[in-house]
């Protein structure tokens, strides 16, 4: 029997991507089904892409971004923060657990935090179970 493991897409901005690099460099392990998509800034991620990822079979989507306080006055990651909040509201409304979409604040030097947070999130998503949108949308009741 194949054991189900959640598939997770993580959009990583350039700064936090370098944090993800650091996690590997320092030998922190985290589940292999966390797949990273590197983007210049978390704010460039269209919310529709998060929806698309869930549709395509991701059990959860993470957006890792720079802490707004570290960016001082101008912080595009605040946009990401607001969008994630809006997305969670939308998912909640249509009956998808909102915890499947999250924002994680990861700086360039927080590889350890990335590894531990991601492992924790994978455990939580395991408890939620598979999203299986395809099944839900296609199977007739």
């Amino acid at each position: 029997m194949v054991v189900w493991k959640p598939k997770i897409i993580a959009f990583t901005c350039w700064c936090s991507s370098s944090g993800v690099d650091q996690a590997g460099f320092e030998g922190f392990k985290y589940p292999a089904n966390v797949l990273t998509v590197r983007v210049p800034c978390s704010a460039i991620v269209n919310p529709s892409l998060v929806v698309k990822a869930l549709q395509e079979g991701a059990d959860a989507v993470l957006l890792t971004a720079c802490k707004p306080v570290e960016l001082r006055k101008i912080a595009p990651s605040r946009i990401t923060e607001a969008r994630v909040s809006l997305l969670r509201r939308l998912l909640n409304t249509v009956g998808v657990e909102e915890d499947r979409v999250r924002i994680l604040w990861i700086s360039s030097n927080e590889g350890g935090i990335f590894a531990s947070e991601v492992s924790r999130i994978v455990e939580e998503v395991e408890k939620l179970g598979p999203l299986n949108l395809r099944g839900k949308m296609i199977e007739q009741p």
Binding site: V51, Q55, A75, E81, A82, L86, R89, L90, M137, P141
Partner: protein, 274 residues
């Protein structure tokens, strides 16, 4: 006092006679109830009607007459749509003569084969708080009491949205009827095949509807044009209302009620909790 319909016809005639406008967009009688009509001659003004079947927003047609001075008949929600479209730089206030008619709610559409008796007020009208357009050049008051409005009830049981989406035929009626859908290349109509492909994969209906909801969030004026024109009766207004509530909670922003209030930039200020 004359009925709103009489007043409306008189106003339209006079506007056209004085050449204050080049045409008036309103409703006329049709077999199924009412349909939009475009009047440019004063004596055609008699065709105009006003009744609770005038549910579909006419605002969408304004974009087709950008070079003309247009009189348009609007309900509260339609007026809000105009406000929002002015903010989005899509309409010129100066070339639009807004005839606001006090609205007491509209009927749900009669579906093919169903009875015309015992008409019900639309669900989104029950929630409506703006019965008169916040922006107007002329106001026509209602002569009857408001239609029987059931007291706004809770949304009741949560809907099974995934099953509702599954019914969707992708006929695009929601997009075609919406005053806000003016993109030149609609993302969910096949112009972005990577997102929503034209070939029907049912699971894509999830992305289809959520993308549209995201595009409507904070803009939708809940006029109900989409769900009234939906052949499979997906209550889309309710979904968009939920996202509008998010904007109201986080930013105190309600689309279309205030021309001066700019749409909120989608950010949280320091200290605000998402």
């Amino acid at each position: 006092m004359s009925s709103p319909e009489t007043e409306l016809r008189r106003l339209a005639r006079s506007l056209l006679e004085k050449k204050a406008v080049d045409l008036v967009i309103g409703y006329e009688k049709s077999e199924a109830g009412v349909r939009p009509c475009f009047i440019s001659e004063p004596n055609e003004a008699e065709r105009l009607v006003w009744n609770p079947d005038c549910r579909l927003s006419l605002v969408r047609y304004l974009r087709g007459f950008k070079e003309k001075r247009v009189g348009i008949i609007v309900k509260g929600c339609d007026g809000r749509a105009i406000v929002e479209l002015i903010k989005e730089n899509q309409l010129d206030r100066r070339s639009t003569f807004i005839i606001a008619v006090e609205c007491n709610g509209v009927y749900k559409p009669v579906k093919y084969g169903s009875s015309k008796l015992g008409r019900q007020i639309a669900e989104y009208c029950e929630k409506c708080e703006v019965r008169i357009s916040p922006i107007r050049d002329h106001l026509i008051k209602s002569d009857v009491k408001a239609l029987e409005r059931p007291s706004p009830k809770n949304d009741g049981e949560p809907l099974d949205w995934l099953s509702l989406f599954r019914k969707c035929l992708r006929c695009m009626a929601c997009v075609r009827s919406c005053p806000f859908c003016y993109c030149t290349e609609c993302s969910i109509e096949g112009f972005k095949p990577a997102l929503v492909h034209k070939l029907v994969d049912p699971v894509e209906l999830f992305t289809f509807h959520l993308t549209r909801a995201l595009h409507m969030a904070g803009r939708c004026v809940e006029c109900g044009a989409c769900e009234s024109s939906c052949p499979v009766e997906i209550p889309l207004t309710r979904l968009y209302h939920e996202l509008n509530e998010w904007f109201r909670e986080k930013y105190g922003y309600v689309p279309g009620v205030n021309l001066e209030q700019a749409p909120p930039p989608l950010v949280f200020k320091e200290g605000e909790k998402p």
